[in-house]
């Protein structure tokens, strides 16, 4: 899963039946501090998200088919959560520092 920011809705009338009554948004991948991190993509909403929200995006099709209970769903990116906060711990020792510690 990745962190993303919802940018804007994508409106379609003619669509695959597995997309009926589902919202599609343009989503921008972001870092832990909220800065854009990569090319935008489309994701289907499963968490009542809206433009501006920071979201958790699942980008694995078979996991999505399980979540939706639809074995023939063509959805490849699914918004599965709206993020309230992200805390990054900067004082955690790196793997290299742990490995270099005498007696470790």
């Amino acid at each position: 899963m990745i962190l993303g920011r919802v940018l804007e809705p994508v409106v379609s009338t003619i669509k695959h039946e597995e997309l009926f009554a589902r919202s599609v948004f343009v989503v921008e991948p972001i870092d832990a501090d909220g800065t854009a991190a990569g090319a935008t993509f489309l994701a289907v909403d499963h968490a009542q998200a809206g433009p501006g929200d920071q979201v958790l995006v699942l980008r694995e099709g078979s996991g999505i088919r399980q979540v939706l209970g639809q074995p023939k769903s063509p959805i490849r990116c699914l918004i599965v959560g709206v993020v309230d906060a992200v805390h990054v711990s900067h004082d955690t020792p790196s793997q290299a520092a742990v490995a270099a510690k005498p007696g470790a």
Binding site: V10, I14, K15, E18, V24, V26, G61, I75
Partner: protein, 108 residues
């Protein structure tokens, strides 16, 4: 999943049995601002899209499961025809300016 602009059709008479009757379109992936993103791909069509349409593409295994016969060698599929992105203008290929998102209706 991403946006694309249909730029042509692909005709193949001789193909894998499961692909009989499946329409193949040449699609250029684009950003929400209408800017080209990499090279064009051939996508199976489930929506009767035509050249000039902006479409919603899926890829990989999910492209094959969108088709009537799900065990076929397909890696991109059109699963919707896009009417609008945000509150901007309808994303018709010819009227959609490339580059600046603000130029097509103020949505960034």
């Amino acid at each position: 999943m991403f946006l694309g602009r249909v730029i042509g059709t692909v005709v193949a008479t001789q193909k894998v049995p499961g692909l009989d009757g499946v329409r193949m379109m040449l699609v250029q992936p684009i950003t929400e601002a209408g800017v080209d993103l990499g090279g064009a791909v051939v996508a199976a069509d489930t929506t009767q899209a035509g050249p000039g349409d902006v479409v919603h593409l899926t890829s990989s295994r999910e492209a094959a499961v969108s088709l009537p016969e799900p065990f076929v060698p397909v890696d991109h599929a059109i699963i919707a025809i896009v009417d609008a992105v945000g509150d901007g203008l309808p994303p018709l290929a010819s009227s959609w300016p490339a580059g600046d998102p603000a130029a097509r209706g103020g949505v960034s």
